[in-house]
C-alpha cells in the first residue's frame, strides 16, 4: 500500500464523517428484508428499493461523501500541503486517492446492493448489481474528486448533479440520461443479469464507453488541476 493511500485511508476512516456512510446502506438492506418478510411481490418493491434508493441515492451519496473527502477534506484543513511539498508526479497522488475512494465506496454500496438483489430476485442479480455499482463507484468518485479540485463547494455541486440532473431532469428530459452515471449503472447491471426490475433507455455500449470516458477524463482533469494547485490567497 502506498504512503498516499495509507494516509488517505487513515484520514477517511479516522474521521467522524465516516459514520455518515452507514445509515443509507443499512436502510437499503432493512427495506429489502422487510419487504421480503412481509411477502410483498418483488416486482412491486424491487425497482423502487434497488433503483430508486440503491442506485439513485445510496451509490451517488456515498460516492459524494467519500469522493469529495479523500482530497477535499485535506484541502479544507490545509494538510494537503504536506503531500504536495513532495517530489511526486501529481498522478501518483490522484490515483491512489481515487483507488481508496472507489474501493471504499464500492465495498460500502456493493454489499447492501448484493443482499437486496438476492432478496428481490436471485444471486445473479445481486452480483450484477454489485459489479455495476462498483463500476459506477469509480466513475462517480473520479467526478467528485475532480470537483473537489475545481470548486470550493464540491459537495454542493455534486448534490446538484445527483439530485437535479440525474434525479429530476432524468425523469422529464430523456436526453439527459445519456449523461447520467446512474443510467449507465442500470444499463450495465441489466446487461450482467437481464431482469424486469431494471429498465433504462441507455444502451450498453453507450454506458460502457461513457463510464470509461468519465472515469478517465475526470481523473486527468484532477491530475492537471492538482499540478496547478494554488493555496488560497488570503494574507494574514
Amino acid at each position: 500500500m502506498s504512503t498516499v493511500s495509507w494516509i488517505t485511508a487513515r484520514g477517511l476512516l479516522g474521521r467522524r464523517r465516516f459514520l455518515l456512510l452507514f445509515p443509507l446502506p443499512v436502510l437499503l438492506v432493512l427495506l429489502a428484508v422487510l419487504s421480503r418478510v412481509l411477502g410483498v411481490d418483488p416486482s412491486e418493491w424491487g425497482p423502487s428499493v434497488l433503483v430508486g434508493l440503491g442506485l439513485a441515492v445510496v451509490l451517488p451519496v456515498i460516492a459524494l461523501i467519500v469522493g469529495t473527502g479523500v482530497l477535499g477534506a485535506e484541502i479544507d484543513d490545509g494538510t494537503v500541503v504536506h503531500i504536495l511539498t513532495k517530489p511526486l508526479p501529481r498522478w501518483q497522488i490522484v490515483l491512489p486517492k481515487l483507488a481508496v475512494a472507489a474501493g471504499v465506496t464500492a465495498v460500502t454500496v456493493a454489499v447492501p446492493l448484493y443482499v437486496a438483489g438476492v432478496l428481490a430476485s436471485s444471486v445473479r442479480v445481486g452480483l450484477a448489481l454489485a459489479a455495476a455499482a462498483s463500476i459506477g463507484a469509480l466513475a462517480y468518485c473520479a467526478l467528485f474528486l475532480a470537483l473537489s479540485l475545481v470548486t470550493r463547494r464540491p459537495v454542493l455541486l455534486g448534490l446538484v448533479y445527483v439530485l437535479i440532473w440525474e434525479g429530476l431532469l432524468g425523469n422529464f428530459v430523456s436526453g439527459t440520461k445519456v449523461l447520467s452515471i446512474q443510467q449507465y449503472v442500470i444499463a450495465l447491471a441489466d446487461r450482467f443479469a437481464p431482469t424486469e426490475l431494471l429498465a433504462t433507455d441507455v444502451s450498453v455500449p453507450v454506458a460502457a464507453v461513457m463510464s470509461t470516458l468519465i472515469a478517465v477524463g475526470f481523473t486527468a482533469l484532477a491530475v492537471d488541476r492538482l499540478r496547478s494547485f494554488s493555496v488560497a490567497g488570503e494574507t494574514s
Binding site: 504512503t3 498516499v4 495509507w6 494516509i7 487513515r10 484520514g11 479516522g14 474521521r15 484543513d77 490545509g78 494538510t79 500541503v81 504536506h82 503531500i83 504536495l84 511539498t85 513532495k86 517530489p87 511526486l88 508526479p89 501529481r90 499540478r227 496547478s228 494547485f229 494554488s230 493555496v231 490567497g233 488570503e234 494574507t235 494574514s236
Partner: protein
C-alpha cells in the same frame, strides 16, 4: 536543555542553493498583493519582515510553488518552482496554517513524509528529523494531543526530513512559548550556519533582530528595504517620532520643550500637546528632567505613530 547536542547533517554541497525572484508580482482582480519584487536568497538565515497584510504569505507561497506569479518568475537554482514538484527535493516549507494530520503520531507523520520523499532510509531520516526538533519524548503520541508549539515542531521535522537546501517558514514563532522560540531560533541559526538557505517571515521586529543578519522588509506588497538588519534598525530608531502629551500646564511645557534640541516642533491643541521629535533617545531622556524642574506634571505621554505600519511606511520613504 542542551540545544547544541544535535547537529544537522553535514553539508555535502558547499555552494548551497539559491532562490531567485525576478520582478515577481501577484494580483487578485484589482488588488495587488505582491508588487514587482526581486531578490536573491542564498545560504544563511534571512528574515522577511512586514506588517500583517503586507503580502508575505503570498510571496512565500509563490516561492514554494503554491501560487503562480501573475508576472515575473521564481526559480530555485534556475528551475521554476511553479508546476514543478521536483523542486521539493531541495525545498522544504512550513506553512503558517497549523495543519497537521491530527490522527497520526509525530513519528508516523514524519515517517510518512520521509516515505513520500522516497528516501533510501526513511526510518533513520524520521528519527534524525525528530531528534533535530527535540520531539523524541512525545513522538509516539497522536499529534492531536500536542500543544501549538509542539505541532509546529512536528511540522518543522516533517519539512526537514529530506535535509532540504532551502527551508521556507511562514511565521514560525507564532504561538510558541519563549523556550520553544529560543530552541527554534537556535535550530534555524544552526541550519543557516551549515549552509542552508533559510527564509522565515515575521511581523515582529525583535524576532528578526535576534535571528538574522539579513532582512527583507515588505510593506503593502512592495520590497521596502533589504539588507543588513542593523542599518535598517538604525533607520527605524532615528526616524522622527510624534508624541501626544497632556500635563498640568501644557503651555509652559510647550515653551520648555521648544528649547530642547531634540524637539523639532510643538503644537498646542485642545487635547494637549503634539510634539514632533527628531531624536527619540535624547527626547525620552530629557522629558523626565524638564517637566519636574518647572513644577509640571506629565499626565499622559503617548507615542502617536508607534504602529508597525508607520515604522515600515517610514522606511518606504527613506
Amino acid at each position: 536543555m542542551s540545544v547544541t547536542s544535535v547537529e544537522p547533517k553535514s553539508t555535502p554541497a558547499p555552494t548551497g542553493s539559491r532562490l531567485d525572484l525576478a520582478g515577481v508580482s501577484r494580483w487578485y482582480g484589482n488588488v495587488v498583493a505582491v508588487n514587482d519584487i526581486s531578490m536573491s536568497l542564498g545560504p544563511g538565515v534571512t528574515g522577511l519582515l512586514g506588517p500583517n497584510g503586507a503580502g508575505k504569505t503570498t510571496l512565500l507561497h509563490m516561492m514554494a510553488g503554491f501560487l503562480a506569479p501573475s508576472r515575473g518568475a521564481v526559480t530555485l537554482d534556475g528551475a521554476p518552482t511553479w508546476r514543478n514538484p521536483e523542486v521539493y527535493r531541495r525545498l522544504g516549507l512550513v506553512s503558517e496554517r497549523e495543519a497537521v494530520h491530527t490522527f497520526l503520531t509525530a513519528y508516523e507523520f514524519v515517517l510518512a513524509s520521509a516515505r513520500l520523499h522516497r528516501l533510501p532510509d526513511p526510518t533513520e531520516a524520521a528519527r534524525r528529523a525528530i531528534a533535530l526538533v527535540e520531539l523524541e519524548g512525545a513522538q509516539s503520541r497522536r499529534i492531536g494531543t500536542y500543544s501549538k508549539g509542539m505541532r509546529q515542531r512536528a511540522r518543522v521535522a516533517a519539512a526537514l526530513v529530506h535535509d532540504p537546501q532551502v527551508l521556507l517558514l511562514d511565521e514560525p514563532f507564532n504561538g510558541m512559548d519563549p523556550r520553544q522560540r529560543l530552541h527554534m531560533m537556535d535550530l534555524l541559526h544552526r541550519l543557516g550556519g551549515a549552509g542552508r538557505t533559510i527564509l522565515f517571515s515575521s511581523h515582529i521586529l525583535e524576532e528578526v533582530e535576534q535571528l538574522s543578519g539579513t532582512v527583507q522588509v515588505m510593506v503593502a506588497g512592495r520590497l521596502a528595504a533589504s539588507g543588513d538588519f542593523r542599518t535598517i534598525r538604525r533607520l527605524m530608531t532615528n526616524r522622527p517620532h510624534v508624541f501626544a502629551i497632556r500635563s498640568t500646564d501644557d503651555r509652559a511645557l510647550a515653551v520648555a520643550l521648544m528649547a530642547e534640541p531634540s524637539v523639532a516642533g510643538v503644537e498646542l491643541g485642545q487635547a494637549g500637546l503634539t510634539v514632533r521629535v527628531s531624536d527619540y533617545g535624547a527626547f525620552t531622556r530629557a522629558l523626565p528632567k524638564i517637566a519636574p524642574a518647572r513644577g509640571i506634571r506629565v499626565r499622559q505621554l503617548v507615542p502617536e505613530d508607534e504602529s508597525l505600519e508607520s515604522v515600515f511606511s517610514y522606511l518606504v520613504e527613506a
